[in-house]
């Protein structure tokens, strides 16, 4: 296969710039793909920790390669920051043809940078986190495959290659959610994620068909604002809606968000990488990539996107307030933050969407990894009601987690403040209603994140920590179980019981099952590893360096990432300038002066402060009974997920069962009835049923041969 490359310009082509880098874009996804293949062949032999290091190196290679391409784009003139490399023709059929081709432009490279960067850190972290797991190398195999698919998704130069990545990351997500497959809840969560995503994928697929029949191409380079001219608005509107359906599946927006909270059944690094930082932002990427479609659609389409986004943001934030599982809080928080990104897309703040995507990748990955560190240090405890005061035991984790908290809560100058503020400013510009809902969400965000931090790291420890020698006597393989004993004051099984049933409403079955699994001393999987290393450890402990180094790096990023797009002067809008070749004129313009921006920013800061103070009043000072806030209806997620489940398990299942019954009895019944009638009249069928099979077939063969012989004898040969 020959590697041809050509430069495509979205603007009027000036002189053609070529460089050796043009032919190297494919290396970005190739590194993790090679890592995957190497682990597939030799992963088991490599074992721990080499398999992990190999995978980390593969992802690091992709990051290095992305930096090279990034440097090349930066060095170019603004209009020529686009490299289109075609590897080979993928699916040619008649007039339809798509290539395996890559488009490295400001949007895809911006995303590739944080995907490979954060990805590498999470790989590194996983070496520590997955230590001792029986399927250690398999975990990294999936992780590398995921990164490769994610890079294909964003770097693909056409909708179909994006769809390949789209489904590829979905498959990896499925593998990794059900990674600890022996527990049914994990397997169910994995399946639920895949099937729910497929509902969205239906929209994506039909969107591709409609795009091809409308424009004759599905290549991003050709789907520009200019291509929209002369096409009926209703057609473009329909296409936009179809892709939006795809986006809400992958990015967990209402009503297809239901899979994401359950996806927390996967190992925590997976939650950080796939279900927070990267994969779930794919929908936002798709909407941004297709901004010419949204711009040319009927006006209600962007409005709908904005309202779905802000609605999801508020909805998920209310649920996060009442979760007790440390990961569930972050899961609903992710759904909520993704809602902000869709709000941004809907109000035309594409830069804001990508800005928030990047800052969110840093601080949410940080928070998830921090929660993983807590879970690890607490010996697989996920219930925040059994934590408290951990900052004494895990100072690095606590410090970095607090950085993440301040970033997401919108405290200046942490990164989350800048990106969220930008979105809120544009929301105000579009519709004050959107702004108000977004603002309430910001307040709730500050509240539930503060609640999480206070419950986990501050206050008095609510686990039975021992200064004594008691826990030091613990031996050997059953450590996870033993810890449960120390922690919950009972047998291993009781921990699971108390998580599932105790105080009760907050924990869904999934997390209960996770607790069950991880507390089960006999289980051969993840729980095993505590046996060797922490036989002496009774108290929560700080994590190894492979785990806290990523935390430190991410916390630095979470502090400074706001610098990407500071609002003060035009010169500081780096990200906006960078993305301009992709978004063109479709970025919304603010219709008010700088003064309004300041007022809005101050209001946002005040909302964050109120949220944090309220949480402090409840969870630090104990002035209000938490039960008055953590309403059961919120803990249960407004019952929506349960409603879907009972519909699928009820009427949905009845319909399928009816069809199966119909098939076996009515359709097949008619067939057998006909046969019975016939056999009643004839003796032929009775002879079949006496079992003279061979005789019959023998007779048939003889007959056939005789017929053929007769004809042959009459041939003209």
């Amino acid at each position: 296969m020959s590697l041809t490359s050509l430069l495509a310009f979205t603007e009027a082509p000036a002189e053609i710039v070529t460089s050796p880098v043009d032919d190297l874009v494919f290396l970005i996804p190739l590194f993790p793909l090679l890592g995957f293949v190497a682990l597939l062949i030799g992963g088991r032999k490599l074992g721990e920790p080499m398999a992990g290091w190999l995978a980390t190196a593969a992802c690091g290679g992709a990051f290095a390669m992305t930096l090279v391409v990034f440097a090349e784009l930066v060095s170019r003139d603004y209009t020529q920051r686009s490299i289109n490399q075609t590897l080979f023709e993928w699916v040619p059929a008649g007039e339809f043809s798509v290539d395996i081709g890559f488009l490295a432009d400001p949007l895809s490279i911006a995303m590739a940078l944080f995907i490979t960067g954060v990805g590498t850190l999470i790989h590194l972290y996983s070496i520590g986190y997955m230590h001792g797991d029986v399927n250690f190398s398999k975990f990294f195999l999936y992780l590398n495959l995921f990164v490769a698919a994610m890079l294909l998704l964003i770097l693909g130069d056409n909708l179909l290659l994006t769809f390949l990545g789209w489904e590829g990351v979905g498959a990896c997500s499925y593998f990794l959610i059900s990674f600890w497959f022996t527990k049914d809840a994990n397997a169910t969560a994995g399946k639920k994620a895949f099937v729910t995503n497929r509902i969205g994928d239906w929209g994506f697929m039909v969107g591709i068909f409609a795009t091809f029949f409308t424009f004759g191409t599905i290549n991003y380079v050709d789907l520009t604002d200019g291509a929209m001219e002369g096409v009926a608005q209703s057609t473009i509107t329909a296409i936009s809606v179809l892709f939006f359906i795809g986006a809400i599946g992958k990015s967990a927006q209402l009503p297809l968000y239901v899979w994401l909270p359950d996806a927390m059944a996967g190992p925590t690094p997976v939650s950080a990488l796939i279900h927070a930082a990267t994969m779930v932002t794919s929908g936002v990427y798709l909407m941004t990539r297709l901004n010419p479609f949204l711009a040319a659609s009927a006006d209600w389409v962007p409005s709908m996107i904005a309202w779905v986004g802000v609605g999801t943001a508020l909805f998920a934030a209310t649920i996060a307030v009442a979760q007790n599982d440390i990961k569930k809080v972050l899961a609903y928080s992710t759904v909520s933050q993704l809602g902000y990104m869709f709000l941004a897309v809907g109000v035309g703040a594409y830069t804001g969407a990508i800005f928030h995507m990047i800052t969110h990748a840093f601080f949410k990955a940080l928070l998830f990894l921090g929660s993983g560190s807590v879970i690890h240090g607490m010996h697989d405890e996920q219930d925040m009601r059994k934590m408290g005061g951990l900052k004494k035991f895990m100072p690095i984790t606590a410090a970095t987690f607090i950085v993440g908290w301040l970033a997401i809560a919108g405290v200046p100058p942490f990164s989350g403040f800048w990106s969220k503020d930008e979105i809120l400013v544009f929301a105000w510009n579009e519709n004050p209603g959107l702004y108000v809902v977004g603002l309430i969400t910001a307040l709730l965000t500050a509240f539930y994140m503060s609640r999480q931090v206070f419950m986990t790291f501050f206050g008095e420890p609510r686990f039975a920590h021992s200064g004594s020698e008691a826990a030091h006597g613990v031996e050997g393989h059953g450590e996870a179980g033993e810890m449960a004993e120390v922690g919950a004051g009972g047998a291993a099984g009781e921990l699971a019981e108390s998580s599932a049933g105790g105080a009760g409403t907050a924990l869904a079955t999934t997390s209960a099952a996770v607790a069950t699994m991880d507390a089960d001393p006999g289980d051969g999987d993840h729980a095993d590893h505590h046996g060797d290393d922490h036989a002496h450890a009774g108290d929560p402990h700080e994590s190894p360096w492979t785990m806290f180094v990523p935390l430190i790096v991410l916390s630095i990023a979470a502090i400074v990432a706001g610098g990407l797009n500071l609002p003060f002067t035009k010169d500081l809008h780096f990200l906006e300038h960078w993305l301009e070749p992709v978004i063109h004129e479709n970025e919304a313009k603010l219709g008010f002066k700088g003064g309004t921006k300041w007022v809005l920013a101050l209001i946002a800061i005040a909302a964050g402060a109120i949220g944090m103070m309220a949480a402090a009043a409840v969870y630090l000072k104990g002035r209000v009974d938490p039960a008055k806030i953590e309403l059961p209806v919120l803990a249960k997620g407004w019952g929506l997920d349960a409603a879907f489940s009972s519909f699928m398990g009820g009427p949905g299942r009845w319909l399928f069962a009816f069809l199966a019954w119909f098939d076996a009895n009515v359709i097949d019944g008619i067939v057998n009835g006909t046969a019975a009638l016939t056999s009643g009249g004839g003796s032929l069928l009775r002879r079949f049923q006496t079992g003279y099979l061979r005789n019959y077939a023998f007779g048939l063969s003889i007959g056939a041969i005789a017929t053929v012989a007769y004809f042959i004898s009459r041939t003209a040969l």
Binding site: F181, D184, N186, V195, V206, F209, F213, A660, F688
Partner: protein, 526 residues
């Protein structure tokens, strides 16, 4: 290009069958060796035809056309084009793999003999260009499959075998009447002597529109049963469930394609106007098959029945592709025929391997197998994802092209059919979860992983699943001229046929009229 290759591909397994059946002595091992040799040689022959195939030629290649029974205008006319090529290769490859992967439980001699007869007959069906020859082969394949189900099957095998046989016989009987009506009406209309030659009739079709529609329906009845289309599909789950593993693999992998292939070659090509006229009916039945097959599959308790119903859904996609009449949808349909042979064949092999170890196919009795048999679980996962249509694997390319093409001419059918991909994920992942995930207990915990020979048989299928998903071009470009030719033929013959604007053939495209005359004609590349 040697036309003899195609004749050899039919003759070698047939001779192999005779050797296995009539050369006395020896135990099963020698029969197995002969069968493996004969089927493997056939595989090599078909692959060499693939390599030898002229990619730019839209007509028939490896053609032999010898008068056989001149009184009735019957000739030994065989040849393959880009449409049948891959089905022949699939048949060539799937048989030796099946023989490697599976050993019969008893009576190896007749078992292998019947398998080889089946291989010869199947290649014959795909190669036949004479209606009589086609019909003979179409019927011949029934006998070995009947014997395999009835003789080596499980449970209610006799019931299943008889049901399979009678069901298909009824369809075939209608087709026989149709064939006779067609040749006589055609002879009457043209004034020429009677001929069974497919190409001669199709290229100079003179039968009245009304009669052609009726005759088409008689053909369609035979093919619809074979596919099987909703609502004449109920023989399939029974046949699959009770058949021995090899029977299921071949039944799904090759025999179901006789129906879909029949629709392309003897439906669209022979009766373009009638096919077009009845297209809404078949599109609807295809889409019903997709959704209904998937919904019923979800509820199955027996793993083999589940895969059988998934076949009905997959074949529904193929029917949709065929009756959408676009280059994309037809290429997708042919691609999907091969995909289904590979992935469903592999699924049945895997289910057979589980059955051999656990002596049950009931989903509820299995569980946690990923722990005891991780490699098998890995292979199953890849095959399952191919069947679900995950991009990057072969199944997606076929499904996508079918839906894309159908979106042009049968928009709403395509939109509804696309929802089938949701259901496919549902029933397969749910089955996977119940069989492979969870805690392994009892015999499930000690189940052996794949043996070397089993892995050896599955490896080529896995390789094809990945290769065709990433690089389908070699296959698509070989079928494209023939498919374009077919679409152009339909366009010529059907006055009110409106292909979507995007799909007019290129300006320099000229339809190839396959050579008809001559004692031995060779399709020449131009």
């Amino acid at each position: 290009m040697t036309p003899a290759l195609l004749n050899l591909a039919i003759a070698v397994p047939a001779i192999g069958a005779l050797i296995v059946a009539f050369v006395p002595g020896g135990r099963g091992d020698s029969a197995r060796m002969v069968a493996l040799m004969a089927s493997a040689i056939t595989g090599v022959i078909t692959v060499s035809m693939l390599l030898d195939f002229d990619t730019s030629n839209a007509g028939f290649q490896f053609v032999t056309n010898r008068t056989w029974i001149s009184d009735f205008g019957i000739s030994w006319h065989v040849g393959i084009d880009g449409i049948s090529l891959f089905l022949v290769v699939l048949t060539g490859l799937l048989f030796p793999l099946t023989i490697v992967a599976i050993t019969p439980e008893h009576d190896p001699k007749p078992y292998y003999a019947w398998l080889l007869v089946l291989q010869a007959g199947s290649i014959g069906v795909f190669a036949a260009l004479d209606l009589f020859v086609f019909f003979v082969f179409f019927e011949i394949v029934l006998v070995p499959m009947y014997m395999l189900i009835g003789g080596w099957g499980h449970g209610r095998r006799v019931y299943a075998a008889v049901k399979f046989f009678l069901y298909t016989m009824v369809g075939s009987a209608l087709m026989l009447v149709g064939i006779l009506a067609l040749v006589s009406l055609q002879a009457k209309a043209t004034g020429d002597p009677i001929t069974f030659d497919l190409v001669t009739i199709a290229e100079n079709f003179q039968v009245s529109e009304n009669a052609a529609r009726w005759i088409f329906l008689s053909f369609a009845a035979a093919f619809a049963v074979k596919v099987p289309l909703f609502p004449v599909h109920t023989w399939l789950p029974d046949a699959h469930t009770e058949a021995p593993t090899a029977g299921s693999v071949i039944l799904a992998g090759v025999m179901l394609k006789l129906g879909t292939y029949g629709f392309v070659r003897f439906g669209l090509y022979l009766f373009p106007e009638a096919s077009h006229y009845f297209a809404p009916l078949f599109l609807t039945l295809g889409v019903i098959g997709i959704l209904y097959g998937a919904a019923v599959a979800t509820m199955q308790k027996d793993l083999k029945r589940l895969v059988a119903y998934s076949s009905i859904a997959h074949l529904g996609f193929i029917i949709l592709g065929i009756f959408a009449f676009t280059v994309q949808s037809l290429e997708g349909a042919i691609f999907q025929m091969v995909n289904h042979g590979i992935s469903t064949g592999a699924l049945f092999m895997l289910v057979g391997m589980i059955y051999e170890r656990r002596h049950t196919r009931m989903i509820s009795e299995l569980g946690g197998l990923q722990k005891s048999a991780p490699i098998m679980a890995g292979v199953f996962t890849v095959v399952m994802l191919s069947s679900i249509g995950l991009p990057g694997l072969n199944g997606f390319v076929g499904e996508f092209l079918i839906l894309l093409g159908a979106f042009g001419t049968a928009r709403w059918w395509a939109v509804v059919a696309a929802a089938g991909v949701i259901l496919a994920a549902l029933y397969l992942l749910w089955a996977y979860q119940r069989v492979f995930h969870g805690e392994a207990e009892g015999d499930n915990a000690t189940m052996a992983d794949l043996r070397f020979s089993e892995g050896l048989a599955l490896l080529p299928l896995l390789a094809l699943i990945v290769f065709l998903g990433i690089y389908p071009k070699p296959m698509l470009e070989r079928m494209e001229p023939a498919v374009m030719n077919l679409v152009a033929h339909i366009e010529e013959e059907v006055p009110d046929f409106n292909p979507p604007d995007d799909f007019t053939p290129p300006d320099d495209f000229e339809r190839v009229v396959p050579t008809v005359a001559g004692e031995t004609a060779e399709g020449e590349g131009e």
